[in-house]
Amino acid sequence: MTTRYLLNRLLLALPTLFGVVTVVFILLRVVPGDPIAMMTGPGATPEDIQHLRAHYGLDRSLSAQFVIYLGQLAMGDLGTSISLRQDVGELILGRLPVTLELTVFAMLIAIGCGVCLAIVGSYWRSRWPEAIIDSVIGIIVAIPDFLWALAFILILGVVIPVMPIFGRLDLALEYQSYTEFYLIESALRGRFDVTGSVLWHMILPGVALALPLMAVGARVLKSSLNVEMTQDYAALAHTKGFSRLQVILKEALRNALIPAVTLTGVQLTFLIGGTVLIERIFGYPGLGNMAIDAVINRDLPLIQGIIITFAIIFILVNFLIDLINTILNPRLRDG
């Protein structure tokens, strides 16, 4: 029962989401430091502060605040940002496309390169290409994406200044976007100069984000490919006259993908979490960059909104991975 199984999985995510909302709400209410005092500065009178507290609903009891908050959430209202004085939902929707484009781009790099590395390594098993791939993967895994990003900035931005290291678009380019999905939108509108510039700016942050997932994915996929290639069906295909590459691509890869997808699923959520830092390093105007500003400014509604957004993304990603697994592995479909 595929659909029922998947529906169940989706329903199971609801308590998780509720848990995240509750924990975040409680955590952020025990924060030391008064957000209102930070926003008003020393010149404010007690009446002003009282007025603002009432405006943001901070004068009520915690449980009342929670109930009101849940009610607003259910209506899709995430509140008003204290530092930017704008609707949190709008702020997030304005930044989310930026992060989504970067994330998808990084994912594609990671999956594409990871699968290629695994196939090449498995094809030349126990020969020098596999040894080289193994050591490259070892080096990539040992260094976190944060450091790769900085290393790229130093090497490709300063020593050999070929790549842009700041922002999303060349400042010289004028572009009015309606959806914030610059890449897709500009390509559809025929502004290929913008598309090129956006892509060019994405490469370094995208690669830095992609490296850990690529390395872990390639390692897992290669070892499971190696296992699959020792199975009888692979030997049979081989004796039927298929070349080793054909056996890998047509027979072994599909089976080898199952453990690889399961094991790299968590890594994918780490990639999404990594955007927070990578966007900061590259001055990329996405959700993660805004999250750090929100934390520095103690902007509770905004922090809350961003965390819930990330939680929803993680839940969806996990669901997607389950879905892919179910498609790949028929045995799970009856689960």
């Binding site: 998780t16 975040v24 955590l27 952020l28 025990v30 924060v31 030391p32 430091g33 040992a142 260094i143 976190p144 944060f146 450091l147 900085l150 290393a151 900035i153 130093l154 931005g157 300063v158 020593v159 290291i165 968590v266 959520t269 780490f270 999404i272 979490g273 990594g274 927070v276 830092l277 900061r280 390093i281 999250a291 750090i292 934390v295 520095i296 103690r298 922090i303 965390i307 990330f310 993680f314 996990n318």
Partner: protein, 288 residues
């Protein structure tokens, strides 16, 4: 009883594992630099000299002899700041990793030994914990606790205890079934005695491996949090603050970013190698 003492060839085996040797070398270098910082640093790391701001390394024409790798935007010596930054990195690495190890080991032992509901609760928490990206979680935690070194250490402990807990739990479940535990029960040892005196010593090699890896992680997390301005005060010399300044003035002073990034990569790769190497030495399976 399983022999828990390292056998005589232990030191010999470590000396013949290149990764462990390299890792120990890195750890020693970091410790020596941190301990001798006041003598090693050519300048006071906080001393500002605006006449000498943005000095290039000494081999450039505008370079100044006493500032070997130049100065930052406020004319502070980059080498001295990096040297003092080692102290913060090492303190966080040792304190945060040990505390995370302590918390994770206690919970892991409980979950692994008692099983049942205790195990169910602890394992569930670990699963949920580990599905969150650490960077995001640490930033949120520091937002809650408030910026500062103590907050960074607490955040690392709260996030990374799971790494220890998971492994300790699994290993305790294995050890629990072995004969020596059964004989311990027969001679009337209490559960606490069994856990602390019999099972725990057998986990020590494993914990050392995890600890050395965790130290590398802790250094990176501290750097990340001071990079985004959520750790020590921005004028305190820490690697993350240096990297933040270096990123900001990348086009004026690229060398400001280079040194701390190099130190960070050096320590992380070294501590990772130490963990891998020790695992190779300790673990009989990977020793073949």
């Amino acid at each position: 009883m399983v022999n828990v003492r390292p056998d005589p060839s232990f030191v010999y085996r470590i000396c013949h594992e290149p990764r462990a040797v390299f890792g120990l070398f890195v750890l020693c270098v970091l410790t020596v630099i941190a301990l001798t910082a006041p003598w090693l640093a050519p300048h006071d790391p906080l001393e500002q000299d605006l006449l000498y701001s943005f000095l290039p390394p000494t081999w450039y024409p505008q370079g100044e002899g006493s500032y070997l790798l130049g100065t930052d935007n406020l004319g502070r010596d980059i080498i001295s700041r990096t040297v003092y930054g080692t102290r913060i990195a090492l303190v966080v690495a040792v304190v945060a990793a040990s505390l995370a190890c302590l918390l994770g080991t206690v919970l892991g032992l409980l979950a692994g030994y008692f099983g049942g509901k205790v195990d169910l609760v602890i394992s569930r928490v670990v699963d949920i914990w580990m599905s969150f990206p650490a960077v995001l979680l640490s930033i949120v935690l520091v937002a809650v606790i408030g910026a500062g070194l103590h907050a960074v250490i607490i955040a690392i402990v709260i996030i990374d205890w799971t790494r220890f807990c998971r492994v300790v739990r699994a290993e305790t479940m294995v050890q629990k079934e072995l004969d020596y535990v059964a004989s311990g029960v027969t001679i009337g040892l209490s559960r606490i005695q069994l856990l602390l005196n019999e099972i725990l010593p057998n986990l020590v090699p494993l914990l050392i491996v995890l600890l050395s890896m965790e130290m590398g992680i802790a250094i990176v997390v501290e750097t990340i949090l001071s990079f985004v301005g959520l750790s020590v005060a921005s004028d305190t010399p820490s690697w993350g603050n240096l990297i933040q300044e270096g990123r900001q003035y990348i086009h004026q002073v690229p060398w400001l970013l280079g040194l701390p990034v190099f130190c960070l990569i050096f320590s992380v790769v070294g501590l990772n190698a130490l963990g891998d190497g020790l695992k190779q030495v300790i673990d009989p399976v990977s020793r073949r």
